[in-house]
């Protein structure tokens, strides 16, 4: 006989109250306006999260189209498809859109906004109006950046990293670069506010029993991401503001003009292009982990569900994530190895060291699937795609962490292939794994699994065809950010293969569009928990009601919904004083019940 955990109905009382205690007019019965006014005024984290996700996916497609133009240009050595200035604008905007406007906002503005309050059992984010403001700053920042295409002189052409002095007024005049910088400023503040909101929600609004070490790993990763955002984005904003001053207010922060030199070295009071690089990469490296960690979290949600097992090494995952975040803040100058002006061994050592916690995460993911019952639905396929892609991207990252190797691969297509593998692996494979996984929860209807599989295979195969030749051609000496290349070096065949792969990826994403469409035309109802999910969000309806929960199960581990649905296979809780999971009942197949600390649940 198994003990059943009875649901306790906890009516969550979330009426907004003023300081004198009385309730506002009309906000009691109805749940706010509908229609266009709802999208403009809602402070509900689910609406805001959806707005973020839709906007960022539109930007993803836009940027993807830009990438198609880049690949078409590179298919022949001296293509006349695009002028040099058009090409330079397109790779600048492709990078900027993907990194500033898609990957980050989709992860922390979209998915985290929607899912984190649900996973911790909160009715909303800690600061709902600030949340809404974040979205509007993101949208207006994106519009600002995209305005570059419509101003005189065209969009910015200095690369998504906008190094000084190329980005100074002398070498990049015009409004295009200015709107680019202002777009970064706006979206930067959007991100900072979201970081504050995430910390507030996770620290203060967890449901009773949801201790820190019972949070899902996705939420842990979002907490660490939020801290990284607070570390990194203010530095970027400062760097951008200073660059703007250099461009328009006559300062010489980054330009070594009028310096006084002694022995060939500038005096300390001189402006310096190196300062820009240091500031930018102090943001830039945590930024790529801000982009990666949420997607690691998504994979850590999906793998257990589709293996029907708990996360392997939960605490190891938490500590590894913290270690990745801490280390990533100390490695910024590995993007500057070729300047000849940075402390090579320090940054090399810390960069190589990041492989250790990342490896721990990999082994924990494999351990999660070990002895499992794997089902290869679309979310699982995309998560596996992430594992393969990130594995190779990570290994090449280790190569790049070594300065002598970086000296001949820096700024070549080797690096381009590396970061596309890691970013594609995370933001695209894991990101769209999250889309397929949580779409039923958000909309109450399923995406077609057959179409999802087609999307996956086209993208996965296309991905390898696109980026593997880029490693080779980078080692042959092809630099990045070039609109043309010599025709007598044998690079063209690799570029053609890469372009073909890009078209395959594009076709995969066309399938996704059709999948979205058909799920609206001919919906398949999803129910509350179509995947037998483990975490709290699968306990509520699809889509969740206003203020998320009318009932909450007892929270005794990191898998409250699983424990509720499978009381004969309770999860061991973590943290100190691990009590029995609610009862002194059986602990399933894994040996004695009773004191959770003593049960044998190893491999």
């Amino acid at each position: 006989m198994t003990d059943v955990i009875e649901p306790t109905a906890t009516q969550l009382d979330v009426q907004p109250r003023g300081p004198d205690g009385h309730e506002p007019h009309g906000a009691h019965e109805d749940h706010g306006p509908t229609g266009i006014l709802k999208w403009l005024t809602s402070t509900d984290h689910k609406v805001i999260g959806l707005s973020y996700m839709i906007t960022s996916i539109v930007i993803f497609y836009l940027s993807g189209i830009m990438a198609m133009f880049l690949r078409l240009q590179l298919a022949s050595p001296h293509s006349s498809l695009l002028s040099f200035s058009q090409y330079n604008s397109l790779f600048t905007m492709h990078g900027a859109l993907m990194l500033y406007l898609f990957a980050g906002p989709f992860a922390f503005g979209g998915l985290a906004n929607y899912i984190v309050p649900l996973q911790v059992g909160a009715p909303d984010m800690a600061f709902p109006r600030l949340n809404a403001l974040s979205y509007w700053l993101y949208l207006t920042g994106s519009i600002t950046m995209l305005m570059g295409f419509f101003v005189a002189g065209g969009a910015a052409q200095f690369g998504w990293v906008f190094y000084a002095p190329l980005s100074s007024a002398t070498y990049s005049p015009g409004a295009g670069p200015d709107v680019f910088l202002m777009g970064i400023a706006l979206t930067g503040f959007s991100a900072i506010f979201t970081g504050v909101n995430l910390c507030g929600t996770i620290f203060y609004l967890r449901a009773p029993g949801m201790t820190m070490f019972r949070m899902p790993i996705f939420t842990w990763n979002m907490l660490v991401t939020a801290i990284l955002i607070l570390i990194a984005f203010p530095v970027l904003t400062a760097a951008v503001v200073m660059l703007f001053c250099d461009r328009h207010f006559g300062t010489h922060i980054y330009t070594a003009v009028g310096c006084h030199f002694v022995n060939g070295l500038p005096m300390h009071s001189c402006g310096s292009p190196l300062l820009f690089q240091n500031l930018f990469w102090f943001f830039g490296h945590p930024e790529v982990y801000i982009l990666a960690l949420p997607f690691f979290g998504i994979v850590t949600e999906i793998l257990p569900v589709f293996s029907r097992r708990p996360v392997f090494g939960y605490k190891g995952m938490v500590f590894a994530t913290m270690a990745i975040a801490a280390l990533s803040t100390g490695v910024w100058a590995h993007h500057m190895f070729t300047t000849g002006a940075v402390l090579l061994p320090f940054f090399s050592f810390l960069s190589l060291l990041i492989a250790v916690p990342t490896g721990i995460k990999f082994f924990n993911w494999i351990g999660t699937m070990w002895h499992g019952q794997l089902s290869f639905k679309t979310p699982m396929l995309f998560s596996l795609g992430f594992l393969f892609a990130f594995l190779m991207g990570g290994v090449t990252g280790i190569m790049l962490a070594s300065p002598p190797i970086d000296f001949f691969t820096h700024d070549t297509y080797f690096v381009v292939a590396h970061f596309h593998q890691v970013l594609f692996g995370t933001a695209v494979f894991a990101g769209f794994a999250g889309v397929y996984y949580w779409y039923p929860k958000m909309f109450g209807r399923m995406l077609r699994d057959g179409l999802g599989k087609a999307h996956f295979w086209l993208t996965f195969i296309g991905f390898w065809i696109t980026f593997t030749p880029q490693y080779i051609v980078g080692l042959l000496g092809m630099p990045r950010r070039v609109a043309s290349y010599p025709s007598n070096l044998g690079w063209q065949s690799y570029n053609i293969v890469s372009t073909v792969g890009a078209f395959m990826i594009a076709s995969g994403f066309a399938v996704l569009l059709y999948n979205f469409y058909i799920s609206w035309r001919k919906p398949i109802p999803a129910g509350d928990n179509p995947w037998d999910g483990h975490t709290l969000e699968w306990f509520t309806t699809s889509p969740p009601p206003h203020h998320n929960y009318t009932h909450l199960p007892p929270i005794r581990s990191e898998r409250p919904t699983w424990d509720y649905n499978h009381p004969e296979h309770l999860t061991l809780p973590h943290g100190r004083g691990a009590h029995t999971n609610g009862h002194n009942g059986k602990n399933g197949k894994n040996g004695k019940g009773g004191n959770g600390k003593k049960a044998e649940v190893g491999v």
């Binding site: 306790t8 906890t10 969550l12 979330v14 907004p16 003023g18 300081p19 309730e23 506002p24 007019h25 009309g26 906000a27 706010g32 709802k38 005024t41 809602s42 402070t43 009715p123 800690a126 709902p128 109006r129 809404a132 979205y135 509007w136 700053l137 207006t140 519009i143 600002t144 200015d178 709107v179 202002m182 706006l186 620290f203 203060y204 609004l205 967890r206 449901a207 009773p208 029993g209 201790t211 820190m212 570390i231 703007f244 300062l275 240091n278 500031l279 102090f282 913290m322 803040t329 100390g330 940075v342 402390l343 320090f346 909450l552 199960p553 007892p554 929270i555 809780p573 691990a578 009590h579």
Partner: protein, 144 residues
């Protein structure tokens, strides 16, 4: 609050260590300042939560006496029941137009830096209106 404080204090201590190591190995000013700033970012909330945790768990005043310990919040206790979280959780402002207005104001103000100061005449009033509206809304606890 213990885990939160340990996490943030760990960041503070870690970056202090890295900062010291970096300074004495490389003598590079920019990076060292950034690391010091990051350490401060860890210490400030970390120490706050640390003292919060001490207050809630009781602590001796230096070496003697005992301060009353209210105990952990329900969300920090392993054995907390759902019913403990019943009642008013917090104030969650419902639909509000002011974030949108503030966003548009910020947008126009920022564009003023690029396209001409005249846009500030549109942007700044929007920002001020929004800030006023948000404050009034908070006073009244709901939609204005």
């Amino acid at each position: 609050m213990k885990v939160e404080s340990i996490f943030l204090l760990f960041l503070g201590v870690f970056f202090t260590g890295i900062g010291i190591w970096y300074w004495f190995w490389g003598y590079e000013q920019g990076g060292t300042m950034l690391l010091v700033g990051t350490a401060t970012l860890g210490f400030l909330p970390g120490l706050y939560y640390f003292f919060w945790h001490r207050r809630f768990h009781g602590h001796k005043y230096f070496f003697w006496g005992k301060v009353h310990a209210p105990g952990d919040r329900p969300s920090d206790r392993d054995d907390a029941e759902m019913a403990e979280g019943a009642g008013n959780i917090d104030s969650f402002p419902s639909s509000s137009i002011w974030p949108f207005v503030l966003g548009m104001g910020a947008f126009l103000t920022v564009l003023a830096l690029v396209f001409g100061a005249w846009l500030m005449f549109l942007g700044i009033p929007l920002i001020l209106t929004a800030l006023t509206g948000v404050t009034a809304e908070s006073r009244r606890g709901g939609a204005v």
